[in-house]
Symmetry: C2
Subunit: 346 residues, 2 copies
DNA sequence: GCCAGTTCGTAAATCGTTTTACCACGGGCG
DNA sequence: CGCCCGTGGTAAAACGATTTACGAACTGGC
């Protein structure tokens, strides 16, 4: 109470390794060797250290430790939007991977804005993460002028597939477009609207490329009906409604994004068309709760677990050998055939 | 190449404050003062430091800095499941709050398992977070034997409302149950099934308490029909289907959780009952994409933004004054009246 | 011209841990 | 008995930033 305060709060700050050492009657070095050490320690000192640490509730200071060791065993994760179930699912998988490998992850979101993304990455660098998993805001990731020149080992996931200066892991989006469209063609559809949110990213354009390729391979090149809806559900709904007010209606819709899927469903309701009797739908990015829809949606889905597992191991490889040549992985997609796409009626 | 390696990787590790100092021809102390310092620095040295830092791409080492300063300006966030849209939404709000206040957040998920939760919290403590925001796995949070005795300032959010040893911020779940039920009663319903996932948590029990209170206040005490479905959508569906196969069907369902809402919808489909003509439904936890349902769901919703903002500021207060008495905030809920609940038909 | 006061720079201590260098002790062996 | 080596302990030097203590240079007032 009356004592002079030299140390900042002087309060009950966490016990240090020195406190443990004092209580156990050994040196800090020995404590360190007991807790994580490579060197042998006599059983009796080991025991007394364990007891002292337990009694004081000692928790190693991660910052001091990784300052000394030169690595943090932490991976930074950058996603556009954590509220988006696709990304939060990925993050959950990564978290499990990390736990298995003795790592921890540090999650930040960019709001799909390259400036915020850059700032968040700066702060991950300041925290000296050992690696980065990034779902980039733009395909030209890292091209902005203020961007940090040197990054820790990084892997681009989902977006910016095939980037020149990074490893990339993403779904095979061309196949996604191709298989979704082909399924409808096999069912006899010849007028298929392809609904997409935007053409700003290569992964979105790839899905449309797959759609085009499927038409072409089946001699339907002239029948392209591309609808670019926009980033919101409502915009997609409006776009598809406009398309369907025209005289010659498509008999099927292939929605190439999650949001455009929702937009298509709302439009079908609003137009009072019967799904799947009057129109077929192939949806995108089916997630568990979508099973509440009737009819069950035939859908193209990404394999989030594979995406997460592969990107994780590519990152680990990159950390192990920083100078290896870049890899570009494409993860196959899944087409789940359910009830929303039916043979064309005529 | 031929040189002897003394320092670990000897590679191009990040530049330190000493490197900047050397390049600028000043001491490290001066560099520190330029970058964050409280003390004045002459304009010319300031300039040369800025230039040197810029040229080297210097990024302050967050670990070294917070080791010295004694705080991290980091808040640990613990949620049961990041894939759950409710929690990922909360996290997104917190991230924004943190950015505004010059903090960063460190997110971990517990999988609703108290052991994992405890481990994750240990590692947040090792990282010396300045505070914790916790959606606890159990109402008796912190009671397990191995649990750390001293925690940084912490606020329990959503779950474990009214905990003895922590501040808590949660929705007014009794009101949620009361208002949802009252709405149905006002529409003339007298046989109302209350569907819940479990009775394991106080926030779930509170919703049922609200349901009971509403019945009682309207002289319907004898008409209680509680259906405890279970944690999965399917279990809820089965439970409600069983209930509806009995002779006297309820005329309305009040779903007190998100999962049970989905289960109820699936059951209604499966039983081939018309919503809202033959049965009324008050849903829980409406989120944006739920607008794709037809009819639009009348729903009780939690105010995630309020929840996040209030818990954040309670935590900041707690950090500022560690010895203040505990506060227990209840955030009002919202009842959105749409189309799925109609006056009872007879 | 001298003294007090301000400004600004540097050296060194510090945060808590890991790791290196060094030393004491004892056992085995020639 | 003398030497070598393995074991296990300690002190001290890192890691990179912040902050304290001190001192040099300059200013201004008398």
């Amino acid at each position: 109470m009356g004592g002079k305060r030299r140390k900042p709060p002087a309060g009950r700050s966490s016990p240090t390794i020195r406190d443990v050492a004092r209580r156990a009657g050994v040196s800090p070095g020995t404590v360190s060797n007991v807790l994580i050490g490579v060197r042998g320690v006599r059983p009796d000192s080991r025991l007394s250290v364990m007891k002292a640490a337990e009694a004081l509730g000692y928790k190693s200071n991660h910052m001091a430790s990784s300052l000394r060791r030169g690595h943090t065993r932490t991976i930074g994760v950058v996603v556009p939007d954590l509220s988006n179930e696709f990304f939060s699912g990925l993050v959950t998988h990564w978290e499990a991977q990390a736990a298995k490998a003795g790592y921890e992850i540090l999650v930040v979101s960019s709001g799909d804005d390259p400036d915020i993304e850059s700032h968040r990455i700066q702060s991950l660098i300041a925290r000296r993460v050992d690696g980065l998993l990034i779902a980039a805001a733009r395909d030209d990731f890292g091209a902005a002028p203020g961007f940090p020149v040197t990054l820790p080992p990084a892997v681009l996931v989902d977006r910016a597939s095939g980037h020149k200066r990074f490893d990339t892991v993403s779904s095979d989006n061309v196949a996604a477009g191709y298989e979704g469209t082909s399924h409808l063609i096999k069912l006899g559809h010849r007028d298929i609207a392809c609904l997409t949110s935007a053409d700003s990213h290569v992964h979105l354009r790839d899905r449309v490329r797959g759609y085009r390729k499927a038409l072409k391979d089946n001699g339907l090149s002239g029948r392209e009906r591309l609808v670019v809806g926009g980033r919101s559900v409502d915009a997609c709904q409006i776009a598809i409604e406009r398309q369907f007010r025209r005289p010659a209606r498509p008999t099927a819709i292939f929605a190439t994004t999650f949001f455009s899927t929702l937009g298509a469903i709302k439009a079908i309701h609003a137009l009072d068309i019967a799904l799947p009797k009057d129109i077929s739908l192939v949806a995108f990015e089916h997630s568990d709760w979508m099973t509440v829809f009737q009819p069950y949606l035939t859908a193209v889905a990404q394999r989030r677990d594979e995406l997460a597992a592969n990107s994780w191991s590519v990152l680990m490889d990159r950390i192990a050998s920083p100078h290896a040549t870049f890899r570009h992985l494409k993860i196959p997609i899944t087409l789940s055939i359910r009830e929303s796409a039916r043979p064309v009626s005529n």
